[in-house]
């Protein structure tokens, strides 16, 4: 199978393009998913290709009927995706940033998530909601990031609702495979795409069509002394910490890339914890009611007898995301904090 190096955004773009070729029921809609589409008659129609450029070029290949620029009306167009999914399409709707789900939360948590169950299994809702999230988390950047209303993570308010699948890819490879799996799934799937994975997420991606299964975590690094659980970017934080732990302290960490927040692959996490006897969960979200604490609680409940040290969580603090790059960097979980947590567990 031939592969080439793609960025995170290129991998998502390829997944959308391949699935739109394969399945005419797939449409893409959202704010500026093309950009300037209404000016096709003036020779302008793909000004943006989505805020993260993941839908670039799609309108040229599939036309304005399947790649739909929407007005700024998230409640209306996310709801339209729900209605379209109930009536024979497989919409991929983009909400620019996860912070904006506040204005369309009803359609996500009351409508999309609950339809299948509430209607006795008689309605299928094959829709995907793509959304960008996360802090810049780089103290070298000048000035600041996007601050409190454009940098959040919001995992817990999405994963909380039964019926919604929530996936968080971390690399170009799993981004393509999870996107394809999400579009083919008959349940609503939210894909959270970190805005600042950068070169860490670049990698070899097969040209062919493949899926990464939803609901399964991936062991990104095998180890024996401690299990580090990462989500999206924090998987890379865990991998960086694992290198330091190995090189400087001779500690062999296993890194689990959670990949799907709901339904959570509890089995893979518990199996690892039962082998390594230690768990650190690293989560960019705020700590209260977070995935970090949820995973910690499940491990405490189901693997307590195997634990040799208290479970640790490394999360953002219980504050909004600050603007100044210095503060934003402090807000964002870093490898050094993970290393410190593991050293505390092992007393080394």
């Amino acid at each position: 199978m031939s592969t080439r190096e793609l960025s995170f955004g290129q991998a998502i773009n390829e997944a959308l393009r391949q699935e739109m070729r394969r399945d005419s029921r797939v449409i893409v809609l959202g704010e500026d998913v093309a950009g300037a589409a209404g000016r096709a008659h003036l020779g302008l129609m793909d000004a943006w290709g989505g805020p993260m450029r993941a839908t670039r070029g799609l309108i040229g290949e599939f036309g304005a009927e399947r790649v739909i620029d929407t007005p700024i009306a998230e409640m209306g167009f996310v709801g339209a995706a729900v209605g379209a999914a109930m009536t024979g399409l497989r919409p991929v709707v983009e909400v620019m940033f996860v912070d904006l789900i506040g204005v369309c939360y009803d359609q996500i948590m009351n409508q999309a998530a609950k339809m299948h169950y509430m209607m006795g299994g008689k309605v299928r809702l094959p829709m995907v909601l793509r959304t960008a999230y996360g802090t810049r988390g780089d103290k070298r950047s000048y000035g600041g990031g996007a601050a409190a209303q454009h940098s959040q993570t919001m995992y817990s308010v999405l994963a909380h609702h039964p019926g919604l699948k929530v996936v968080v890819p971390s690399t170009a490879y799993n981004a393509k495979g999870l996107t394809l799996a999400a579009i083919r799934d008959d349940s609503p799937v939210v894909i959270l795409e970190h805005k600042f994975l950068g070169s860490a997420a670049k990698g070899d991606v097969p040209e062919a069509d493949y899926t990464v299964p939803i609901g399964r975590a991936h062991v990104a690094r095998s180890g024996t002394d401690v299990t580090l659980c990462g989500i999206g970017r924090t998987t890379h934080v865990c991998l960086e910490a694992a290198q330091t732990l190995q090189a400087e302290f001779g500690i062999d960490a296993e890194v689990i890339d959670v990949l799907t927040l709901a339904p959570l692959d509890e089995a893979t996490i518990l199996e690892s914890v039962m082998r390594t006897h230690r768990l650190v969960v690293v989560d960019e979200d705020n700590p209260v009611c977070s995935m970090a604490r949820d995973i910690a609680a499940r491990a405490a409940d189901k693997a307590f007898d195997y634990l040799d040290a208290p479970i640790k969580t490394v999360t953002a603090p219980d504050t909004p995301v600050p603007f100044s790059a210095v503060l934003e960097w402090l807000y964002t979980p870093q490898a050094a904090q993970v290393v410190a947590a593991v050293r505390e567990q092992l007393d080394r």
Binding site: P71, M75, G79, A80, G83, A84, G121, K122, T211
Partner: protein, 328 residues
């Protein structure tokens, strides 16, 4: 069909049959509630029958409707079987939603019913999506968004009207103005007298129609359907109507409505008016209409028996159907 057309004999029969079935369904339900049968929270449609029937008789089986919290009438008018509806209210596994939805979530996608929906305005977006879907699939289906005058105050409805208009989607917005959003009077919540007047702001036709007159509603809907199927985009119809009972089964209307209001509305009852119209002008006779009533009564006797005799869901159903089966 063009606006101004008169309904055929078959359509007149349908209009009456559906209004009568809705009325009897709601009256039977009210009796069940009052005799202590636990059917959950219900919002009676009684009084508004001409709106649901008038609109839905103008539709085809393959057309879509999205409903409101006050949705039994829409479902019946769109052709739903009263057996699974009644069983759903009883929380039985034979219900339309296997007993997992209740009154506020009755759905029958096979019949184009996208769901009763108790989140005000939410269903309007689903109708928008159905209209978008029809256009993408190049199907000649139309989608109707029923909503109350209360929902005319929520942003979703306006977002959807704008998108339907800019994309020229086959969506018909039907505002059932029954005068009250729960206990809040329309004249308090709107600075203009007609929701339909807002249609102009979105560049679509808006019509006010007498919601107690099934033929008038049908005529307005038939015109909007023709407009939509011709690819000319959405319309807004505002039907002025009245709900005879409270917002829900235990709401006392005398705490916020004027004493003679209900009587005035009942004097213009949609079923009585239809019967008087047929009596004076035909083509249907009162004997025929009475036969329809009797048939509907039998359907409801059967539906209640069916609901009573049906089993409740097995305990394992608590955990089923959270997600759809995965077929990659």
């Amino acid at each position: 069909m063009t606006p101004g057309d008169t309904p055929t004999c078959e359509q007149l029969r349908d209009l009456y049959a559906r209004m009568s079935l809705i009325r009897q369904f709601e009256e039977r339900l009210k009796w069940l509630v009052e005799t202590g049968v636990p059917v959950g929270a219900v919002h009676y449609y009684t009084g508004q029958e001409a709106v649901a029937a008038g609109v839905c008789v103008a539709l085809n089986g393959s057309d879509w409707i999205a409903s409101t919290h006050r949705g039994h009438g829409h479902c019946i008018a769109k052709g739903m079987d009263v057996r699974p509806m009644m069983a759903e209210l009883f929380g039985k596994v034979t219900g339309s939603n296997r007993g997992k939805g209740g009154s506020m979530h009755i759905t029958d996608v096979e019949r184009g019913i996208l769901g009763v929906n108790p989140i005000v305005g939410a269903g309007v977006a689903h109708a928008l999506g159905a209209g978008l879907s029809a256009k993408v699939r190049k199907a000649s289906e139309v989608a109707v968004a029923f909503f109350g005058e209360g929902a005319a105050g929520i942003g979703t409805v306006h977002e959807c009207m704008n998108m339907a208009a800019i994309w020229k989607l086959p969506v018909i917005f039907v505002c059932e103005n029954n005068g009250y959003a729960q206990a809040t009077p329309f004249e308090y919540a709107s600075s203009i007298p007609h929701v339909a007047d807002r249609a102009g702001a979105y560049g679509m036709p808006g019509t006010v129609v007498d919601g107690q007159d099934a033929i008038a509603v049908w005529r307005a809907a038939a015109g909007a359907v023709t407009h939509a199927r011709a690819g000319r985009g959405p319309s807004l119809i505002e039907a002025k109507t009245y709900r005879y009972y409270g917002h829900h089964q235990s709401d006392d209307t005398l705490r916020y409505r004027l004493a003679d209001e209900e009587k005035l509305a009942r004097d213009r009852d949609c079923l009585s008016q239809f019967r008087a119209h047929m009596e004076s002008r035909g083509p249907l006779t009162l004997t025929e209409l009475n036969a329809i009533d009797a048939q509907n009564q039998a359907l409801l006797d059967d539906a209640v028996e069916f609901a009573k005799a049906s089993p409740v869901p097995e305990p394992h159903e608590l955990l089923t159907d959270v997600y759809a089966p995965v077929m990659l």
